[in-house]
């Protein structure tokens, strides 16, 4: 015991290690400041453009497909189902290759960004449509019957009565898909869109700083996803209605 407590701690060695790490970090500051972060920032802007432009179209198209599947006449139903089978079944990577490398051979040139955007919208909408379909089908039949009994058309009943409730039920799924979208937007790199991951890859290879570049990218994605998650919680709370969504809503006085 005494021996142990009296053993001198090799303070020099430990502080030497920290000193070394600190020195190496300080020596890297110019790299972070002048090269890595600006590149990642530009990449981030592209990623955000992709995500922000994909999300609304992916959502609306998904809703259209879901409503068609649940309430459409037979041919429309089949068409919508085919859409889901195809775009959910096709790996996104393959889809992007087809759009970017395949389509030009039949004379359609979309360009990098457009190929990525179209690919994401198709994939995102196919997945969203399944979450939304689940939401639509979970609404009791009596809701639409009541709407129709008041003289609403089927479309009005679906739009004003069923969809608002279904959206609240599908929100967790749809937001999950949104978070996936943030992450799979990194696949845009394969069709030469320099987004977040692409930017990191370029810098990493050029300066041989793989750990630093990808660690930084990881943090960027983490922040994006965290902000989104908070946003979704806020949305769920804001639109919560007692008896409709899981979160307890307050009685609100509306005007």
């Amino acid at each position: 015991m005494d021996n142990l407590t009296n053993t001198p701690v090799p303070l020099d060695g430990l502080s030497g290690f920290f000193q070394g790490a600190l020195d190496s970090f300080i020596s890297q500051i110019p790299f972070w400041q002048d090269i890595l972060l600006p590149a990642l920032w530009n990449g981030l802007l592209v990623t955000m453009q992709l995500v922000i432009m994909t999300a609304p179209f992916g959502f609306l198209l998904g809703l259209l497909v879901a409503v068609s599947r649940v309430y459409g006449p037979k041919p429309v139903k089949w068409l919508a189902q085919l859409y889901v089978i195809f775009f959910r079944g096709c790996p996104l990577l393959v889809l992007l290759f087809i759009l970017y490398f395949g389509l030009p051979s039949i004379g359609i040139v979309l360009g990098s960004f457009m190929s990525a955007l179209v690919g994401f919208i198709l994939c995102n909408s196919a997945y969203n449509s399944e979450y939304l379909r689940g939401g639509l089908q979970s609404i009791k039949r009596g809701q639409l019957l009541a709407a129709r009994s008041l003289g609403m058309t089927k479309a009005q009943g679906v739009l004003y009565v069923v969809v608002p409730q279904a959206l609240r039920r599908a929100l967790p799924g749809v937001s999950n898909e949104f978070i996936y979208l943030i992450k799979y937007s990194s696949l845009a790199y394969v069709v030469a869109v320099i987004e977040l991951t692409g930017a990191a890859k370029i810098i990493a290879s050029k300066y041989f700083m793989f750990f630093e570049a990808f660690a930084a990218v990881g943090v960027f994605y983490l922040v994006l996803v965290t902000i989104t998650t908070l946003g979704v919680h806020w949305l769920e709370k804001k639109y919560a209605i007692p008896g409709v969504s899981g979160v307890d809503g307050k009685v609100t006085k509306e005007h």
Binding site: K140, G142, Q143, L145, A146, A147, R148, S149, L150, G151, M152, T153, Q156, Y160, V161, P164, Q165, R168, I241, P242, G243, V244, G249, V251, T252, K253, E254
Partner: protein
């Protein structure tokens, strides 16, 4: 005036597969009349109501609203349905809307009223059923009786010419039944034409101008409330109905 019935049902038939739910049902309703349909469960009473406003499409037969045939009216059915207010057993209030917005939704979207008049009309109807103080509550925050009163207000807001009550008190506790029946009686006293499907015999006899006894998809007997409860047919059927004792 009472020559043309508000509602005339002629040889209405409906089958689900091999099961004949309605076997050529016919009757007429004139303005201000209260027709009450009683009979064992599964005899097609609810189906009859739904075939009247075409929520269920009949296989054959005709329904005339103020002399106009509505079974084959295509898109015009939406206009006809407004004139036939329906109250469901399970209320079917729109779960995502407060009481007042439940009432005003169709006013805004179907009648295309402006927001202010729709809200005024909705509040007026809620007052009529004694629910104005719960106007900003969601359906999940209302008791069954309150929810049913809101759903009556919702139907009334469309200014219907006839009200269809589909076992509108069956899902309620005895006390809550009473508050809904009270609203129905008030409506009836104001001269509203009503077609009611119910299992409450006591309510039926005191409410109806005419009681229809249904069995296996057919009207087996009908007459004034003074006669039906003592008719041999009813006494015979009564045994199968079981829960006809009112509270």
């Amino acid at each position: 005036m009472s020559d043309v019935p508000i509602l005339k049902v002629e040889n209405l038939c409906k089958s689900y597969g091999d099961l004949e739910v309605l076997k050529s049902v016919s009757f007429e309703v004139h303005k201000g009349e209260k027709k009450v349909f009683v009979g064992p469960s599964g005899t097609g009473k609810s189906t009859l109501l739904r075939c009247i406003n075409q929520l269920t499409l009949p296989d054959s037969g005709f329904v005339y609203l103020n002399g106009e045939e509505i079974v084959h009216s295509g898109k015009k059915i939406n206009a006809y349905r407004q004139k036939m207010g329906m109250v469901f057993q399970n209320f079917n209030l729109f779960d995502h809307l407060t009481a007042v917005r439940n009432v005003e939704l169709a006013l805004l979207k179907v009648k295309k009223m402006d927001k202010k008049s729709a809200r005024e009309k909705a509040m007026y109807e809620l007052e009529q059923v004694g629910m104005a103080d719960r106007a900003y509550f969601y359906p999940a925050q209302l008791s069954g009786g309150q929810a049913q009163r809101v759903s009556i207000a919702r139907a009334l807001a469309m200014d219907p010419e006839v009200m269809l009550f589909d076992e509108s008190t069956s899902a309620l506790d005895p006390e809550l039944k009473r508050e809904v029946m009270e609203v129905m009686r008030t409506l009836a006293a104001q001269g509203m034409t009503c077609i009611v499907v119910t299992h409450e015999m006591k309510f039926a006899t005191s409410f109806a101008t005419e009681i229809y006894l249904m069995e296996k998809g057919e009207i087996v007997e009908h007459g004034p409330p003074s006669e039906i409860p003592t008719s041999p047919n009813f006494v015979k059927t009564r045994a199968f109905m079981g829960s006809y004792a009112d509270e």
